[in-house]
Amino acid sequence: MALLEVSRLEAFYGQTQVLRGLSFRLEEGSVTTILGANGAGKTTTLRAICGMVRTHGELSFDGHAIAGKATETIVRHGIAHVPEGRGTFVRLSAEQNLRLGAYARRDKAAVEEDLERVYGYFPRLRERRGQQAGTLSGGEQQMLAVGRALMMRPRLMLLDEPSFGLAPLLTEELFRILGAISRERQVSMLVVEQNASLALEIADHAYLLETGRIVMSGSAEEIGKDEAVRKAYLGY
């Protein structure tokens, strides 16, 4: 059974329809990426899964029908969303941001373990643990957002442009860590990324989105070899 199953998903901002009947599935433990031009509906797809926009259609996560549910209810099933713009709690400390990720958890000892693990992945965050999160650099805030998502001990991570605003070296580092997390922790991931070649590198599966519809799907390898995709999104 697929971990996430999306069928005939439509999404709206006011009167404007952004997703026009999207269907796809995501297997447990796999990394999937959604490619597409600006405005194709990539971010909206992630937001729709989390109930942050008005939707029609069906969404099933781990057997639960989650369409139309409140965001806070959906994420408690084990979905962590690293949102566009990072969503830092700017006036709280870095560590408070991380601890809020574990807000819905009751397993205190495991939370402390996970905090150590996050600091292990991102040593910079340990150095800055007491600092007001709004004063962290863009890259550090991106790590904080990923770290906060990990603190939820999710089964699925939705990552919206994780490389946004990061220096190239940092981006590669982040994707190396993401790959490690998905392998070691068996966390499934749905990644939206402007840096398509990086995303395809860690992904098992890829979908190509155009104006709210899926126009191509396949293994990351196949999609990466496709001539049209290469020209449009990989630039060679």
């Binding site: 806070e72 709690f89 700017v90 709280l92 807000y103």
Partner: protein, 292 residues
């Protein structure tokens, strides 16, 4: 010198009461960006509830705690039933609802308990301990109680999971939902806490100003002045600002001949206008640093 000390401590007692009201106002302001104009009337209503409980023979501190509990539940209900439906429909709608609440609580109190001025007991011993002479027994007690309340609120927001979640929900509701925080309930909880803290202020000030439906009018104004002076977005600033307002107001009333007790309330207005003109973020206004 004795007069100065007396007036300063009396100012601190009043400042502590303003601080409680200001804290209640700031709590809701931080979550919603709106000033709850009905905060004072809600506190007045809580005080009447305490008054009724006392009349039924319930011992003072039990009545005190019970009134706080009832106020908390009342605050939650007000948010759920009255405020929530207009949430996010525009500033004017929300302000009108706040003013409507103010009028409703005021008339309701007058209707239930009538408008005559009633005495309200002070729970503190007639003698100030340690042989202190420059502060009256009730004022001494008020300073103590408000310190306890402020400390409890600080500890709650600093060290508890729920307090942290409430701050997160106020700062960034969308992100808060993404970590599973039920933002709507956090708001309701904020209203409940604000109502309970306001109730402390009402019950503490009633023995001084006497119980009547308009008893909180001036106090709400001083609390606004204090909150603005300290920085409306900053709870610690609001508390310090309120204490300053309490002391300044009292000293000005004592030492500036033409002000006296009649013009004291204008001091608050002058302060509000001055702060808004010269330093809108307040003395301790936090400038939020944000990188994009």
């Amino acid at each position: 010198m004795d007069l100065f000390l007396q007036q300063t401590f009396s100012g601190l007692a009043f400042g502590g009461i303003y601080a409680c009201v200001a804290l209640a106002v700031v709590m809701i302001y931080q979550a919603t960006d709106h000033l709850n104009f009905a905060q004072g009337e809600m506190a007045m209503f809580s005080t009447y509830i305490a008054y009724s409980l006392l009349h039924h023979g319930i011992p003072y501190w039990w009545a005190f705690l019970l009134a706080l509990g009832i106020s908390f539940v009342g605050g939650v209900l007000v948010e759920r039933i009255v405020v929530r439906p207009v949430e996010g429909t525009g500033v004017l709608n929300e302000v009108i609802v706040f003013i409507g609440l103010l009028v409703i609580f005021n008339s309701l109190a007058g209707w239930i308990w009538d408008y005559t001025i009633k005495p309200f007991p002070s729970p503190f011993p007639k003698q100030v301990p340690f042989g202190i002479t420059f502060v009256g027994p009730h004022e001494f007690g008020v300073i103590g109680i408000t310190l306890v309340v402020l400390l409890a609120v600080f500890l709650f927001f600093r060290y508890t999971q729920v307090g942290l979640a409430m701050r997160a929900a106020a700062q960034d509701p969308a992100s808060a939902r993404l970590v599973g925080i039920r933002v709507g309930w956090m708001l309701a909880l904020g209203w409940g806490l604000a109502a309970a803290i306001g109730a402390v202020a009402g019950i503490m000030v009633a023995p001084i100003v006497f119980l009547e439906p308009n008893m909180m009018d001036g106090i709400l104004l001083y609390a606004f002045a204090g909150a603005l002076l300290g920085g409306i977005g900053n709870p610690v600033g609001a508390v310090v600002g309120s204490l300053i307002v309490g002391v300044v107001e009292n000293l000005v009333g004592t030492y500036v001949p033409f002000v006296g007790s009649e013009l004291k309330l204008s001091v608050a207005l002058v302060l509000i206008v001055t702060v808004l003109v010269f330093r809108p973020s307040g003395l301790f206004g936090q400038v939020v640093v944000k990188r994009v």
